[in-house]
Each structure stands twice: as structure tokens, then as C-alpha cells.
Symmetry: C2
Subunit: 477 residues, 2 copies
């Protein structure tokens, strides 16, 4: 088996030439992180990059020699602002918060431009608009809307949605993890279709796939009262934290959570809980040990569960439960704890830290659970020191996301007429080959951990010892 | 009305002479914090202080000029160790963790010595002995056992249990807060008995008394993975965090929590939840704003509820709900979050910080809820800077506890034959007069806060808007 771990340092970097215009919407942590990588990997003419953002750091814009359009996109101005910038073969990279992905995807389809984002976003306020039903604020609904457009426009320019670290690279790590586990189990497989990947997950008896992330980065000062700190976009994290918690819902689950809602239409791979994701605590495990994570909704929870579903006619025969267990940085844990105390109102001070980080790593992978041989965590361990050596304007978190964006862009440029696709639809070996230099140590680690381990102490709990992989066993609040 | 706030700085310090031997069991943060205060307030002969502790900081012991017996007390050695040190008129100050309060109280009664502790402790392991029922690990049970002994030995030497900051001074702050609120409501009262205090609370329509504490002290470095940090005894906090959550159960409460257990015997002022206190999150408010606290069991939750109960025969006509909503220091919040991920197993590294604290305050008071005029927080705001100016070996947290110990000791010395008493039985004006110089700013602040304020956002919640003071509204997990 091809192991990325050992070859990361020496790996050739993948290059592609791109002659179109690159329009980047938003200029936060991720845009700044990804640009140095694009300049390395894309053979582009000088002066073809334009940033559209009302908050861009002009020092960085100037240092990178790119054009800036100082505009906040809204439903009423986005067409007039973007249309002049986009023609067939151009690329719209949407790294903003609160600009509708669906609107931009439709515009790109019309203009013949490629598209990529790291999250399917609604317009400003869409995540917390109490006039909308909770279902309408879910990632499930946003995803269905975009996929539906894709199904009706199959030969449109490639638009990859949700292609960062997670969602994004995590889908490739999940596939590679399945291959690593298959090898240990003596299965000789090389899945080449969605159906074959689902069959492999089923044969390996995977009950739950946890997107297990632990950000151990720490900073050189204390969080202030009323300050929200994060190692990537504060806006971005707050937005997704306030959406309903969502998870891919496995075929082995015995009972729906009391606060769950199912969806009446669409792929039905996921359910949602009637609570903001940041308020739902789940037990997780990474090579750093067990932890409590926040079950924040993410597209990969829905898309991986959908991708690995096996159906007999209309009946679901197999599907793993998939959810995100995010343990953000210490300062972010404290920020979320404080925000919960303020009934989730956005705090007055918001700080995205990067230079302030003194040490730590972002440990991001899938935890594959259910195989009798044990749990396998497979993922990326990136230290802040290494991230800084690799590219300017980066920390451990941003470079993992940038790696996903980079690999998706290269894939879209090489496959320009796939319509709307998700990370699960991208060749996982291609994605990892491009992203690997920016993922630090890619590693698999087995564990005997389960969410019922060491439970019932110091007092009895409601734990289903007969089936450790029931979601109820993971839930800590 | 006498307001402590304005006079704190100029207040005369209360002195008492004490000619007996002072035996201190344990020599952690609090013992070190209280000794400088005792040397200031107690006229004692040289060389009459003996510390019994296996972990004492010898540098501090030497600097303070006191004797040390380097022994860990156990059920089999405590009598032979302590008896030679105690005679009539001596004082046993129990500031240890995991040494049975009940055993020491009985010994003191036999020998004629006064006694004080800051928490009713069982022997080592008693809080987490799974062979015991959850009820037997509760503070309720420990309290009943000690009070029962007190009822049978009414003229025994005074033994004050649970006399630190909270439990301890908080009972006096609760009474003073009731007087402050009474004045605002135009009630002219000066309660002189338990019945009259209960009547005042009832007349003021107090539904819930929250012990609302926010420790904003921060330190000069980051918590390490696997490290538990606290601003006072790590052992002490972990012990009480793992006991079942307990709260005084008010007569206005409509429904028992699903995970609650009532007690079959004793005063029945409290219930317990089948969960470690550190896992029960509750909404609280201090002058620093709203927050999520941990509902850790504390004697004051039970004793204040008991003290303020009004009965018609066997029927409870009035009782407030009383619980502790503790928001410890940032590093401690992170430590508890990590410990939850490890199913409450004690982490490998334990650090009590004091010199490492760079700023912050301990904001500790009662939040009186239910009066139509609004919520009143009444308590102590002590900064770490001021604590250090007042006494060596102190931070904001330790000096508040030391203030409680000091005031209780002086009361016991002046009233040496009261048997077993609790802070609620101590003259609250005396307690505050002695403690005030070490409580920083003693202040009352009104607020329109309630646990249903700003709720039902970003999605609907189960909230009882008709009765904001139902405990279910406070509970956040």
C-alpha cells in the first residue's frame, strides 16, 4: 500500500498551468493561507488574481501583488460585481462567509467559470434567521439545493463544494483509512466507484465514522472576557456553531435521539438535532487521547454518510453514522463556553489568532469504528512550526484547509466539466497527492477506544454496553 | 443599614487571645493562606502551632516558625497521632482533603478541643467508592451524620463545619443580601432567629438562591495536555466535582429532574442528581455577566435551604432552591473539560497555581432570585493584586476562604460550647466584621437577569416562561 507518511517530505509538488482569471471572494485566514500555495502550484500569468472583499488586509494584498475590489457581496450587487470579472475558463474561489454559494454557483454556470468553496454558505444571517425553519437552516438543506442544481446541469463547469480540510481532504482520508484497515484485515480491494467504497465500509463493519479533530495550538496571552478567539475564521466558526447539530445517521442506530428531526425529502442520509452544534458534546478520540468535542454540523457528516450508503431498492441496507467531534484550541473552547453563557450571542471582541500561536498542532482525521480489529484513526498531524516553514500567513489549521482548496482547484482545472461535485466525488489519490505536502505527518493509529470505555464511573450512566457504536453512547450532553 | 463596602479599607481588625495549642491538619493552599491571618488576629503564645501533613512545604513551615508532624492521617493512626496534641481548650483546624471530619469531630469532643473545617470530608476514596450508594457519597449524608452527632452532644466543644468562603462566609453574605433587599423593598426587619430569616426570605419571594462564583484569575502560561490546574486545592476540587450534584430543593419547584433522587431520612432540604457535579452545567450571573457554571455539590446548598425552610407541621410551606454555579478559572474550565473527556479519571499532572497568577479576581456571592424588584447579587470581589497586598501566600480565592476560616475560629473561641454548628448558625454580623478586610469589595448589584432571558435562540428550547425560577430553566446540561 502507498503510505503518504514516509514520502511527505520528499514528495514532488504537483503543478498545473492555469491561464484564466482567478477571482477570490473573501480574504480571511484561508484566502491568505492558500494564495502562497497557488503561486507555487499554478502556472499563472502575472496579475490574473482579483480579490473581492470588504475586509482585506491591504498589506498582504500588496505583498502578494493582487488586485482588490473593496466590496461586500450581497444579493443585490453580486451579479454586477462579479460578472465583469468572470468569463469561460476563469475560476471563482469562494472563501467568504455569508455569501450564498448557490448564487455564485449559478452565476459561474452561466458564465462558464469553475467554482470552489469550503462550505455551502447562505446569504448573511441565513444560519440564524428565526423566520426560517430549523431544517431550512441546516447544511442538509443547503446541500440538497446545490446538488439538485447539479443534477439538472450535469455538464456545467466543475463546481466543487465544501473542499477545505474538513469538509474536503477528510473525505480522501476516510477512503485511505478504509484501505489501510482493509489491508490489515487481509482484504485485497481497490474500490473504483461509490458503490465499491460503500461495500468496503460495510465489509469492514464500520458503524461510525467520526471526524475527530483536536487543535492543541496555544497562544501567547490569555483570552479576555467578552473575546472570541479562534485559529481560523471566528465568523466561520460562530456561523456553523449556531446551525443545528447534524450527523449522518447510520443503519445500525436503534433509536432516534429525542431532539432529532429527520428530513422529508432528499437523500435522507442525515438527521438534525434541535440544538446548536456547539451545545452538543460528543466523546471522541485522536492519537492525543480521548476528549469531549463539539458536534458542529459539517457537510462531510452528510456527504460521507450519503456516499457510503448501500440501498436495496428504497431500503437502506447499510450506512455508517458520521459526525464531527471538534475540539478546537484552548482559547476557542473557553470562547464557546462563554458564548453558551450568553445564550449564543456573538461576543463583542472577535480575534482570529495566527502570529500569536506559540506551539501546538492540528490533529485532524477520521476515526473508523466498528471493525472487530479495533478503532483506526487516520489523518493529518500538522504542527504550527511546520506550517510556518511551509508557507507564509499560515498556522496548523489554515494550511490543512489550504491544502484541500489547492487540491480541489487543481482537480477542477484538470476536470473542468463535471458540474457540481463534492470531495467524495474527487479521486482520493489525486487529492492526497496534491495535499500531502501540506498535511504534516499523515498517519494511522489503532486504538481499543470506544465511547463506552471507562464509563459508569463514578456513578452509573445510561450506556448501551451491548452496542458500543450507538450514537447515544457518544453523546455527552 | 450597615454597608461593608465603604468601610472595608479602614475597618479595625478584630483580635482575640488564644492560649491553647493549635493543631492544623493539612497544609495546602488554605492552611498557608490562613496562617498569616491567624498570626495577625490571634494573640497566641509562640510555638503553639503544630501542622500534621505529609506534603507540607517545609520552606513555608520554617518561615512561619511552626512545628510539623510529617504524617498522613488514616483511620488507623489518627487517634494515636492527634490525641497527644489535643487537650481541653485546644483547637483542631482541619484543612485537609480525605481525612474524615466526623472522626476528628468525635475525637475533639472527647478531648475537649474546638474544631473547624471548610468541608465535611470522608476518609480517602469515600467520594468515589463505587461500593457505596450514590446517596452515601453525597454531602447530604455526610452532613446528616455530623449534625446527628451534634444533636446528641449539644454541649460539646464548638465544632464549626464547612466554614470557608463557600461554604462559610457565603451564609453570612446571603443574610446580608436579604437585609439589603429588604431595605430596598421598604421592609424594616432585623431577624434574630432561623425562623425569622426564613420568614424574611419568604416575604421577599426568594425562589432561588444561587451561589454565583466567577474566578477570572489567569496565569502566565498555558495548561499542558494532561494537566489539571486550579487556583486552590486540585485534590479538593476534583473530590467535590466527582460527588453527585446536589442542590437545595425549593418548595416552588414543579417537577423533580428525571435524574434526581430524594432522601428518605434527614432534613430533606436537598436532592441529588445521578451525575458528578462537574457534568451538570447551570446558568448563572455575577456582576461580570451571565455565564455557565458547574453545579458542584457544596454544603451551603443544603444548609441554606434547610435554614430557610418554613414548615407547617410536617409540610414544607416555603423553601428556596439553593445551588452552586461555579465558574472556576480559565485553566480550571479547560481542566474539567479535559477530565470529562477522560471519563473523570484524575489527570497525571496536578498543579495548584498561585504565584503564576497574573491578574483577575474571584467574584463570589449569592444571587437572590424571585423578588419582583429584580435579582440581587451580593458578595465579595477580591482581586489577586489586593489579596497579595493583604497577606503572603495568597491569591484571590485563598484569601476569601482564609477569611471564612478566621472568622469561624474567632467565633468558636468566643463561643466554645455550642457543639456542632454550621455557618448559618454563626452571627452573620460577627462573621462579616471579622472577614470583611479580606473580602475585597463587598457589594450588591441588581440585575434584570433571569435564566429565561435571551433564550429560545437560535432555535426553540424547552423553557418555562411562566415561571423563570424553575430549576429546569437554569440547567444547561
Amino acid at each position: 500500500m502507498f503510505s503518504y507518511t514516509e514520502v511527505t517530505e520528499e514528495m514532488d509538488i504537483v503543478k498545473t498551468s492555469f491561464s484564466g482569471n482567478l477571482v477570490i471572494v473573501g480574504f480571511g485566514t484561508i484566502a491568505q493561507a492558500v494564495l502562497p500555495l497557488l503561486q507555487e502550484h499554478l502556472d499563472m500569468p502575472q496579475g490574473n488574481v482579483t480579490v473581492v472583499s470588504p475586509h482585506a488586509n491591504r498589506r498582504v494584498i500588496h505583498a502578494l501583488g493582487i488586485k482588490l475590489i473593496d466590496v461586500a457581496l450581497t444579493p443585490s450587487n453580486y451579479e454586477e460585481t462579479l460578472r465583469p470579472l468572470l468569463k469561460k475558463g476563469d475560476f471563482l474561489l469562494n472563501l467568504s462567509v455569508s455569501v450564498s454559494s448557490f448564487a455564485l454557483i449559478q452565476l459561474c454556470a452561466k458564465e462558464g467559470a469553475l467554482y470552489l468553496d469550503t462550505s455551502i454558505e447562505p446569504w448573511e444571517g441565513g444560519y440564524t434567521d428565526v423566520a426560517l425553519s430549523v431544517a431550512d437552516r441546516s447544511n442538509y438543506a443547503l446541500r440538497e439545493q446545490v446538488l439538485d442544481f447539479g443534477r439538472k446541469n450535469r455538464n456545467a463547469p466543475t463546481a466543487i463544494v465544501c473542499q477545505g480540510a474538513n469538509p474536503g481532504v477528510i473525505s480522501a482520508l476516510a477512503k485511505q483509512g478504509l484501505l489501510v484497515m482493509a489491508e490489515k484485515c487481509g482484504l485485497s480491494v481497490s474500490p473504483a466507484s461509490r458503490e465499491e467504497w460503500a461495500d468496503l465500509a460495510c465489509r469492514l463493519n464500520i458503524r461510525t465514522i467520526q471526524v475527530a479533530e483536536y487543535d492543541s495550538q496555544v497562544i501567547n496571552r490569555n483570552k479576555r472576557i467578552g473575546e472570541f478567539i479562534n485559529t481560523w475564521s471566528v465568523d466561520g466558526l460562530i456561523s456553523e456553531s449556531l446551525q443545528p447539530a447534524e450527523l449522518g445517521w447510520g443503519s445500525h442506530e436503534k433509536t432516534l435521539p429525542l431532539d432529532a428531526t429527520t428530513h422529508a425529502s432528499g437523500c435522507q442520509s442525515a438527521i438534525m438535532l434541535n440544538a446548536p452544534g456547539a451545545s452538543v458534546h460528543v466523546r471522541g478520540w485522536t492519537p492525543l487521547g480521548p476528549y469531549i468535542g463539539f458536534m458542529i454540523t459539517h457537510n462531510e457528516s452528510i456527504s460521507i454518510a450519503d456516499y457510503l450508503t448501500i440501498r436495496d431498492g428504497d431500503t437502506v441496507r447499510y450506512r455508517p453514522t458520521v459526525f464531527y467531534a471538534y475540539r478546537p484550541s484552548d482559547a476557542t473552547v473557553l470562547s464557546l463556553h462563554e458564548m453558551a453563557g450568553h445564550c449564543w450571542r456573538t461576543p463583542p471582541i472577535q480575534t482570529t489568532v495566527s502570529d500569536e500561536i506559540t506551539s501546538g498542532e492540528d490533529v485532524l482525521g477520521v476515526l473508523l469504528l466498528g471493525n472487530p480489529g479495533g478503532a483506526l484513526w487516520y489523518g493529518s498531524r500538522m504542527s504550527v512550526e511546520k506550517a510556518r516553514r511551509l508557507a507564509p500567513y499560515n498556522n496548523a489549521t489554515s494550511i490543512q484547509v489550504a491544502a484541500g482548496v489547492l487540491s480541489g482547484m487543481l482537480y477542477a482545472i484538470e476536470h473542468p466539466a463535471l458540474g457540481v461535485i463534492e470531495p467524495d466525488d474527487v479521486d482520493h489519490q489525486f487529492m492526497l497527492r496534491v495535499a500531502a505536502p501540506y498535511l504534516g505527518i499523515i498517519t494511522g493509529e489503532y486504538s481499543d477506544w470506544s465511547p463506552v470505555q471507562h464509563r459508569n464511573w463514578p456513578m452509573a450512566e445510561q450506556v448501551d454496553l451491548d452496542d458500543p457504536w450507538q450514537f447515544s453512547n457518544f453523546r455527552a450532553s
